[in-house]
Symmetry: C2
Subunit: 448 residues, 2 copies
């Protein structure tokens, strides 16, 4: 195919554009360089032949870059690429071998914050479209881009953008913002994302810290919080709040089959984190099922009293815990929040304050959707092999896309699984950028 | 009595010497000004007619100031004053109305870090001796001083000083470093101190923090620590470690009687801390008994994961809790530590690391010791009334003194109970400094 040859010949341009993007810091957590990066994305799109536009919700909210190419040969089918131009903060700076926004190339790797997550993914999609336009003067289907600037801080406004510009974004399938390639160079095609309910529980027992000798009389808020927490979850990780799993979606026959064949390297995983066993001694299928479809109740943070070195005999006045509950499809974050509150009340912990920080529903694309087999074919042709995963263990705004656009969402991309995203010395692999660009071309060609 | 008139006439000198002491910062936590303050104390003693000496254990350890006056009339009885010249850090500075080491006088109050704790107490004792020497040329009993420089950081070396200079410090009774006067101007004569076992328990589950989506597989150390903690203590504050209370001393008939008559203003206490009820709904006698004689298991600090604002979906690799167990007489800190470790092991928590930070046994002077009634009489004569308390709820090195010197220890002093010790705007009340100096004179005169 001529278009695939063009991808090979165009790698210099891809790398140079990716470097340009990396060199424009765009840290959403610090509101740094977002507008500039959005304009840069729009410009790179235009240079690739994509009509681009910068969309605003309202002042103060990072814009979304919209991109569009209409297909002459197949104007009835539309593929939407979802990406983000914002990046994680680069800290800790001193752990970077080069400057965090260098875009430096060493061998097969391009280094820099955002090189993989998500500027690398974005560039493969832009360049795939460019290669079609340069070689055939057309694309095999309509393509659209939604490139947001708040993914790393929770995509708070992406659903509002989707709703406000619903017509613009209407499509028949979404290629998700991320996509991993495992250690055996197999792309992982992921069909879902878990939901999230992130809450803070806090207890205040007195108006000031007291000398700890008064612990005989004054309640300790950390003990109080502990008493409450131990009613939420058993030692095996099962959440024991009433009706917590009531709506939780199980697995279809097809999904169960997929989970069984899906490779998951327990040994490698355990080595990576230095652990000897999994929660509840899960192994094999049980571990895989948990990853793709089990709700969790995780303590993301706990703080009370004195936490410095040595001894301080203090009776703290307050204690706070941050909990993230991962949800699976059909679980409604607000309904789960109500259950948590009801649970605390009916267990005598009505004094514990519950503050919801974030809520997001899970989403899962039907494994039997024809879009899945098209992507799978494209991946196999590009990488020689691929893995379909029922769901990522992580969370993203997939539910919003599926709901507003009524379109299946699939994650596939170029990010090597150990490419240190969110960490110092993040990198993108040039060989995978190349293969993934071709894979995107193939997905477009099959999307009819 | 001529000596008491001298105390009145000598108040200017007392105040001026106290100001001099306050103006010399001596923060043991920062190793700031300790040597200088020790020399100042020795000098003030000398000026008052007390033979003084600076004792060293070894380089790097703050010295102890020794003071001595031999009695001609009664050389067989020796009273030891135990005090400390070090102070708590003055932070937060911005909450002080004047500079923290100003010694500024406003009406009846002298302000400054250390004004009450413990430089004010020390000066009353020096000045009591001075008044005897100036008026009678003799003291009614031998007097000795032990003024240490590490009280605010745990008196780590005072037992070693006591042992090394055991002969020097030999005595028949110890007047303890602190002493409170309650809101009704009644001095509280306290006969004991609780012990302390301060430990850190920590759990490490993996070699690095992980994305919280992995909580389905990787154990969360905060949950693990919680599971362990909940086996230590019931919601009423009772410690449920095997044999924890085995040696714990109960109350004698006399002590029980004392506890019943000892006033304790529940309402005021609750208002001070903004609380509505006490642990386990204790009231009346039960609350008082708890204060003077109940062991505790207090969470002084708990930290794991992300504790900043907003949401971070992290699965922490470590969790740490700081616990201070208050002990009562007969409980041995090391034995209790062994019980804690055994408890964790036999409950399946052998993986939890236990690090002892500090251990100190409790001590209690026998209520029937004649020293008690002498101090009580002196207090009544000086203040018109007084309260004897079986024990302070706090901890100090009283056990070391009682053990090494085989002498009863009694706490009585000039510190108004709400004089903000350890807090900004600490002050000493001039009227109480005067009364307490007289009270110390009376204690000396009765100590034969």
């Amino acid at each position: 195919m001529q278009v695939l040859r063009h991808v090979d010949n165009n790698m210099k341009g891809l790398i140079s554009d990716l470097q340009t993007l990396i060199r424009q810091p765009s840290v959403s957590a610090k509101n740094e360089g977002l507008e500039e990066c959005a304009r840069l994305v729009a410009k790179i799109m235009r240079n690739s032949g994509i009509r681009s536009e910068i969309l605003y919700l309202r002042k103060g909210i990072p814009p979304v870059v919209y991109g569009e190419v209409k297909s002459k040969q197949n104007p009835k089918k539309t593929l939407l690429f979802y990406n983000h131009y914002d990046v994680q903060p680069a800290e800790p700076f001193d752990l970077w071998k080069d400057k965090p926004f260098s875009g430096k190339i060493i061998g097969n790797k391009i280094f820099g914050r955002g090189s993989a997550d998500d500027k690398g993914e974005l560039i493969t999609r832009i360049k795939a479209v460019e290669s079609y336009l340069k070689t055939e003067g057309d694309v095999p289907c309509n393509v659209k881009f939604l490139v947001e600037g708040e993914e790393e801080i929770g995509s708070m406004h992406v659903e509002k953008y989707l709703k406000k510009f619903k017509k613009k974004f209407s499509c028949d399938g979404v290629i998700w913002e991320f996509g991993y390639v495992d250690a055996k160079n197999r792309p992982i095609i992921s069909l879902g994302m878990k939901g999230l309910l992130y809450v803070e529980l806090s207890v205040t027992e007195s108006i000031r810290d007291a000398h700890s000798s008064l612990a005989v009389l004054i309640e300790n808020p950390a003990w109080r919080l502990l008493e409450a927490l131990k009613t939420l979850r058993d030692p095996n990780g099962k959440i024991i709040i009433k009706d917590w799993y009531k709506e939780a979606d199980g697995f279809t026959k097809e999904e169960l089959k997929l989970i069984q064949t899906e490779p998951f390297d327990e040994k490698e995983f355990k080595k990576e984190y230095g652990i000897k066993r999994f929660v509840a001694n899960k192994t094999g299928i049980a571990a895989r099922k948990a990853l793709v479809g089990e709700p969790t109740c995780n303590i993301a943070g706990f703080v009370s009293g004195y936490t410095g070195p040595g001894a301080k005999t203090v009776l703290p006045s307050q204690a706070l815990v941050k909990i993230d509950f991962r949800l699976v499809p059909k679980m409604d974050p607000l309904k789960q929040l109500a259950r948590l509150k009801q649970h605390l009340r009916s267990n005598g912990f009505g004094d514990i304050k519950v503050n919801m920080i974030h809520g997001e529903a899970a989403s899962k694309t039907n494994i039997l959707d024809p879009f899945v087999s098209k992507v799978k074919k494209a991946a196999n042709e590009s990488f020689g092999k691929s893995i379909v995963s029922v769901s990522s263990a992580g969370t993203g705004p997939m539910y919003s896309f599926a709901k507003v656009l009524s379109a299946p969402c699939i994650s596939i991309g170029s990010t090597y699984i150990f490419s240190r995203i969110h960490s110092p010395n993040e990198f993108a692999r040039i060989d995978l950028l190349n293969k993934t660009t071709k894979c995107i071309c193939r997905i477009m060609s099959k999307f009819n």
